[in-house]
Amino acid sequence: MSVLTHQMLLFGATLFVIGMVGFLTRRSMILMFLSLEMMLAGVSINFIAFGQEHKNYQGQIMSVMILTVAACEAALALALIVSLFRRKNTLDVCMWSELNETPTAPFAEKSEIIMEKELDHPLLTPAGLDPSIHPMPMTLSDGWTKEDDKQFRSTEGSSHA
């Protein structure tokens, strides 16, 4: 590989790592999205350096594809950010930590801010049970036994009847 390719690969790697650190640390959703774009720019520079190295146009064509995908991503990400901002009135991504799989310890600042919008349920098609009427223990260690399960299932049947 030529020296120039080396230097450009190093530059692309630096941009990528800057974007990655920004994505991991930033909590504002818009700035996380900008970090993603910076990672894409680093990868694009990598492709063009390799295209110069091998003396063909494939790297530039890949880079044009990356630009297209980045534009699509910008449109979709901004739409998502707008709709997420409408629900919670904040850009903080930690506010959405309840979307993760297992029940984890809540984020430290989460208890301070309770929006009124969080309290009312979205108007979806009714399915399952309302958790405010039928409270359900989070884990099995909270004393959830087979009898509880049977009782829960029987109440479920009766509530629908």
Partner: protein, 262 residues
């Protein structure tokens, strides 16, 4: 004594193959500095400036170790500006300032692409990212209160782990580049310069060989367009379809339904 001459002699004593050592030192210093900034240990802007000056000196020394012509100077200036913009994007707390740093990084990156004679991609980058960043500017100005910073701008999410991960990733990339340079990794064996058909079937004709002879260095935008609309036509069509789907999706996601609002 001329500092550049001093740097040259010092580097020649060090050996050109040892540039990765300096790169590791730079990465370590950058990581430590970022870490100190994020934990509030390093608050003074003077200290940050001194660190930046040291970094610039390291870059100048690295540049002094090789022959420079005008094109390379411009190229490295763009590279340095881009990395500085990225660093400002990482460090700065005001979201508007961070967006400015991002714009600097991306536009200088477009300059680098221009100096690599990828003219079309450079122009497209400027158009796409300039449009995108202007829109993002509007969003930032709309969403964030300019008078006071929110807590989520000030308290970052796990800066230590992120710094360690980024430093390790960059070090591994630098080391792999160094390994290729010294020949520890044989790149001829991994056959990155040959098409896949030649690796799997050694007797197959090399379709890219005649292309490489025809266009010695891919410099012309016309050649890129010819290649794009003949060999990679399906890719271009796919990209257009993707853009259409993303437009429809963005409109569908962002529209405000009356039931939810009421």
């Amino acid at each position: 004594m001329n500092p550049i001459f001093f740097a040259q002699t010092g580097l020649s004593k060090l050996g050109v193959a040892d540039w990765h050592l300096m790169a590791f030192i730079c990465i370590a210093f950058a990581a430590i500095g970022y870490f100190l900034l994020q934990y509030g240990v390093l608050r003074s802007k003077t200290w940050a400036l001194i660190g930046g000056v040291f970094m610039a000196a390291a870059v100048v020394m690295a540049g002094a170790s090789q022959k420079l012509d005008f094109e390379k100077v411009v190229l490295f200036a763009f590279c340095g500006l881009s990395v500085c913009g990225g660093t400002a994007f990482l460090v700065v707390r005001q979201p508007v300032h961070a967006a400015l740093g991002f714009a600097t990084a991306i536009l200088s990156g477009a300059g680098v692409l221009f100096m690599l004679s990828a003219h079309f991609v450079a122009a497209a980058t400027i158009i796409v990212y300039a449009g995108a960043t202007i829109i993002i500017f509007l969003f930032v100005l709309m969403f964030s209160q300019l008078t006071s910073l929110e807590t989520y701008e000030l308290k970052l999410n796990q800066p230590m782990l992120a710094t360690i991960a980024g430093g390790i990733l960059l070090s591994v990339l630098v080391y792999s580049l160094h390994a290729i340079e010294t020949g520890e990794v044989d790149i001829a064996q991994s056959s990155i310069s040959r098409p896949w058909s030649q690796i799997t079937r050694p007797g197959a004709p090399d379709s890219t060989a005649d292309l490489a002879q025809k266009s010695n260095v891919p410099r012309s935008t016309a050649g890129l367009g010819r290649s794009m609309f003949t060999e990679y036509l399906f890719t271009v069509e796919l990209a257009g379809t993707l853009l259409l789907a993303a437009t429809i999706g963005a409109i569908a996601v962002a529209q405000r339904t009356l039931e939810v609002e009421a």
